[in-house]
Amino acid sequence: MKMKKWTGLLLAGCMAAGALAGCGGSSTGSTQTGGGEGSEELTWKIGMIGPLTGPVAIYGTDVKNAGQIAVDEINAAGGINGYQIEYRAEDDEHDAEKAMNAYNTLKDWGMQILAGAVTSTPSTAVEALTAEDNMFQLTPSGSSKACIEEANAFAVCFNDPQQGTKSAEYFAEHFPDAVIGTLYDSSTEYSAGIEANFESKGAALGLDIADVESFTADNNTDFTAQLNKLKSAGCTYVFMPIYYQEASVILQQAANMGFTPDFFGCDGMDGILDIEGFDTSLAEGLMLLTPFAADAEDELTVNFVENFRSAYEKTPNQFGADQYDGIYALKLAIEKADLTPEASVSDICEALKTAITQIEVDGLTGTITWAASGEPDKEPKAVMIKDGAYVSIEG
């Protein structure tokens, strides 16, 4: 009899603790930026939602700040069709539910266009709301295919299937003899999506994928078992379509066990050099496929990186570059459609849906055009970490 009580208590305890583990806790930060004081003056109200705090805060803050740079530049040059832009960012902590709350906050503020959300899961969640309100949504970096499913939603970045395919093509072209292992997070849509496409495209191209390993969000601190298997399989390249936080731990543990293949990542790897306390020498030689390299020498990139550094004391990552291009794409599309802020949210959306497919943005992440599906078309660049900085690889 005593035992039964005990088991019940244990069960209750486990469940309670499980709930604890699931909830990250919360701290909300919101920031308001933008020029217009009074509401009498007509302005464009562009909202942004992203993780300004939390595990992937580097993405959200870079997107927010890069967007601000674009907005300031456009405002200084006279705005869009003669109207100034107001830009406001809300925090979602990379959480779908908080993103929906952030969307409602922005809607109360009077947002006309959403340049967000930053990460895939929140972006998809918000998409359901923008579709219902028929608000134009341009996510800078929501890379899941689901982020652009609705007709009102477009993306600046490559989507996951595109990234997987392009990575496989890159391997086939540059390292055809590599013994490849993959290590991915099976609990996020982003990672699993890229990996699946990499594997199928890789098989079609005849790549030697010797081992496929995975982990889940609940088990993202100890990778020794997976690394051990990749090592035993003799992998010379490890493809890791994951976020930088886990990657930093993996690099540390691989170094500890004397496993030194070449690591290769996607856009989620961007930001690894900015982790507080990270030994950047571990990332030496890490390659990633990304449309933006901060060391590129064209005038646009040089100016952007310089402005960003002087304002925020850090080198912008690809997510920021995507948002910068996104804001300019909105400007071009609005000009193309000849809109004013007097138009309703729904009318703006209808006009932009067509206009965006007719423009060509010559931006930081290459020359971008859009299909009506919401998918962008641009060329990826391969970047390698050398001496603690991102350097483009030629070819």
């Binding site: 035992m3 604890l20 583990a21 705090t53 601190t221 020794t224 090592k231 306390g277």
Partner: protein, 293 residues
């Protein structure tokens, strides 16, 4: 074979950290008869204390470890005094359990306010380089965490069985009312238990983050739960049981991840727990206490 032994070593490394955490759970349960679900978060506080001293302020490593231990010990005593003691004689044992969950939330969110929720890289406090023995590579942190856990358990065993405060703990564990009749201060003994458990949590936090360097306010949550399982597995209330339970749990987790499935490793760990409890309801080292009427 080489990879099997490497996996075994990795399992022991993870398991020894679980063991140190599990001791904290098991001692508090044995003596205060409560599950301190905030224990995992005390680990996180310890790791943050060490991180602040070593990485942010640039002071030497031993100072950091010492500061973490002092900080956690005081925190453990404070938690016990403020949150648990007033409820100790409340009608239902659930009151303390729920308070413990509240304390856990408080610590996590407090850390988030102070340090932000982005992940920090904890630089290892172990100066030992990776050792290569034949075909095996043994990371320095592995050696140190296994040694530390063995030493801590031995010292604790001697303390409990050979010293007066240790005997007082045993007496409280057996019968609190009788112990107080014999002139033992139950309150002080329980406070001492919390102090020791929390000091061990600080050590566990520093070792955990040395081996798995990502530090965030939720760092302690999952290891805390696993260590709780380890404590139940070994027989909650028994210190050697917690040690064995922790080591076994670590090995089972790594081996199932290596040979069965990465996705299912947690499920397997918990399934093992269920099987053990079905066969031996008091855990591996648990004592069956006969109630006399």
């Amino acid at each position: 074979m080489v990879s099997f032994i490497t996996n075994l070593i990795n399992g022991l490394s993870l398991g020894s950290i679980y063991a140190i955490i599990a001791i904290g759970y098991t001692m508090v349960y044995g003596i205060a008869k409560m599950l301190n679900f905030a224990h995992g978060d005390v680990i996180m506080v310890g790791a943050f204390a060490a991180y602040t001293i070593i990485s942010t302020m640039g002071l030497p490593t031993p100072v950091g470890i010492l500061a973490a231990i002092v900080c956690c010990t005081l925190l453990g005593i404070a938690i016990e005094k403020i949150a648990y003691r007033p409820l100790r004689n409340a009608g239902s044992p659930l009151a303390v359990l729920i308070t413990a969950i509240g304390v856990s939330y408080f610590l996590q969110n407090g850390a988030m306010l102070i340090f932000g929720s982005d992940t920090k890289m904890f630089s290892s406090v172990v100066p030992l380089q990776t050792l290569s023995v034949g075909p095996f590579l043994i990371p320095g942190t592995t050696i140190v965490s296994i040694l530390t856990s063995v030493i801590l358990v031995s010292v604790l065993q001697i303390f409990i069985n050979k010293t007066r405060p240790g005997q007082a703990m045993l007496a409280c564990a057996q019968d609190r009312a009788a112990a107080s009749l014999m002139g033992i201060s139950v309150n002080n003994t329980i406070t001492l238990t919390f102090a020791i458990g929390s000091a061990m949590a600080a050590v566990a936090g520093v070792l955990l983050c040395s081996a798995y360097p990502a530090l965030s306010p939720t760092t302690g949550a999952m290891p805390g739960i696993k260590a709780f399982v380890a404590a139940v597995f070994g027989g909650i209330g028994s210190v050697p049981g917690a040690m064995v339970g922790g080591l076994l749990l670590g090995v089972i987790e790594i081996l199932s991840r290596a040979y069965i499935s990465t996705q299912l490793s947690d499920a397997i760990v918990f399934a093992v727990l269920i099987v053990v409890l079905l066969v031996k309801p008091t855990g591996l080292f648990g004592k069956v206490i006969q109630e006399k009427v």
